[in-house]
């Protein structure tokens, strides 16, 4: 078996597994009951799936000059996916897109409730959003 055939086989394996990651995410989106568990499934094609697909491209092009570009694309995805997932999860938790009956431990709820109570109890306090003005308080 020649080297080219081995690299072609690796490419095909990467493509197939990467596509299966997308399918796993879609099945997770359809089958999981609430937003939080769907978020867990959605990360598969965004990180591991993209890594496998870019590895397939690199294995087919076989150019060292291309590698930094592909790595850069993947690392950029690695940096942005957690941030957007954090924003979606935070907004989802605070807008009650959660199923308390599915959770074993919910450590965030008392914190959010206390913050909401502080906000409601003191109408002058805007939750720390506006630090300017009213120096007497």
């Amino acid at each position: 078996m020649s080297g080219d055939a081995i690299l072609d086989g690796l490419t095909m394996a990467c493509l197939l597994v990467g596509a299966l990651m997308s399918l796993a995410a879609a099945i997770g989106l359809l089958r999981f009951p609430d937003l939080m568990s769907r978020m867990h499934a959605a990360t598969k094609p965004q990180v591991l799936g993209l890594l496998l697909m870019l590895a397939a491209v690199a294995l087919q092009m076989r150019s060292w000059a291309l590698l930094p570009v592909l790595l850069g694309a993947w690392i950029f995805q690695l940096l942005t996916v957690p941030v957007s997932a954090h924003m979606v999860g935070r907004a989802g938790y605070r807008t009650k897109h959660r199923r308390p009956d599915l959770l074993t431990v919910d450590e965030l709820n008392p914190v959010v409730a206390a913050a909401a109570k502080d906000l409601a109890g003191d109408p002058e306090d805007d939750g720390g959003r506006d630090r300017g003005g009213d120096p007497a308080v």
Binding site: G18, S22, A26, L30, F76, V81, A91, H97
Partner: protein
Amino acid sequence: MNAMGIVLIIVVVILSLAAAGAIYRIAAGPSLLDRVLAADVLLAIVGAALATDMAVNHHLNNLALLVSLSVIGFIGSVTVARFVSDRREEP
């Protein structure tokens, strides 16, 4: 037909099924954030399809599009999540 062609057909079928699932979740909801999440997954599937095209046909025309897709997905989901508000009753 060589092995790469067969793999390409299998990958296209799998990605089409995955895209159909993501589009169903975008249509069905039930909430805005579910749709944002499904749109993110659909974007990842489109990126996977672009990378598959590059790998099978030996070109690099889609590389810039692949990077800009991830930028668009990031900006889109962060923006929507920032401005989402609660319109539902307590479950």
